[in-house]
Amino acid sequence: MLILSRKKNDSIRIGDNITITVVEISGDTIKIGIDAPKNIQIIRSELLKAVEQENKSAASPRSAIFDLAQLIKGDQK
């Protein structure tokens, strides 16, 4: 991993069209600004990890899911 030291308002350019700027530093939190083309998806890493984990918990054989679907159907009546 490339590690660079940056101060407030300093920025980093990635490729031709992505700029990351340190907007604010406060204690152990920094605010970063990201300028990127619209087709670049930006997601907080921990959120993506949480969704991966949740998907793994949710994936089941259809037979196992069927039971809950039945219960929901019954609950709706």
């Binding site: 619209k38 930006i42 949740e54 998907n55 918990s57 949710a58 054989p61 809950l68 679907a69 929901i72």
Partner: protein, 136 residues
């Protein structure tokens, strides 16, 4: 929706990036529950729910990256589902509102979108959703 619709997830789903082909089918006619079944892994199936049928309290802006990826031109060709995690039963079951499944029904293209909004719950109570009490 027809009996079973083939959906291609060009990027897979988070945690299942290698799975690209799924079929979507209605669980029961009288509910808005669906099976999203992997065509490549028979044991991988997701129970999905059409959130808008149950609540008006769920809203999000579809990122332009997704609109582009799925070639979405009209809202009428978009279907939205959320994955249900069973957790052992109806009382414990949760719905992932943070990462909806977006499908272009006209083209059979799908993607699971991780929303950056912090207002959505990744583990919303399914009971709350079914009762329409999901807070805005």
């Amino acid at each position: 929706m027809e009996q079973s619709t083939r959906i291609t997830f060009a990027q897979g789903l988070p945690g299942f990036e290698n799975l690209r082909q799924f079929s979507l089918s209605h669980a029961f006619e009288e509910t808005e529950l669906y099976y999203l079944q992997s065509s490549e892994e028979p044991d991988i199936c997701f129970l999905c729910i059409n959130p808008f049928h149950y609540t008006k309290g769920y809203e999000f802006v579809l990122p332009s990256t997704v609109q582009e990826e799925l070639t979405i031109k009209h809202l009428s060709e978009v279907a939205v589902f959320n994955i249900v995690t069973i957790n052992g039963g109806l009382e414990q079951a949760t719905v992932n509102l943070q990462a909806p499944i977006i499908i272009n029904t006209a083209l059979g293209k799908g993607a699971q979108v991780v929303l950056n909004d912090t207002v959505h719950n990744i583990r919303e109570s399914l009971k709350n959703l079914l009762q329409g009490t999901v807070a805005k």
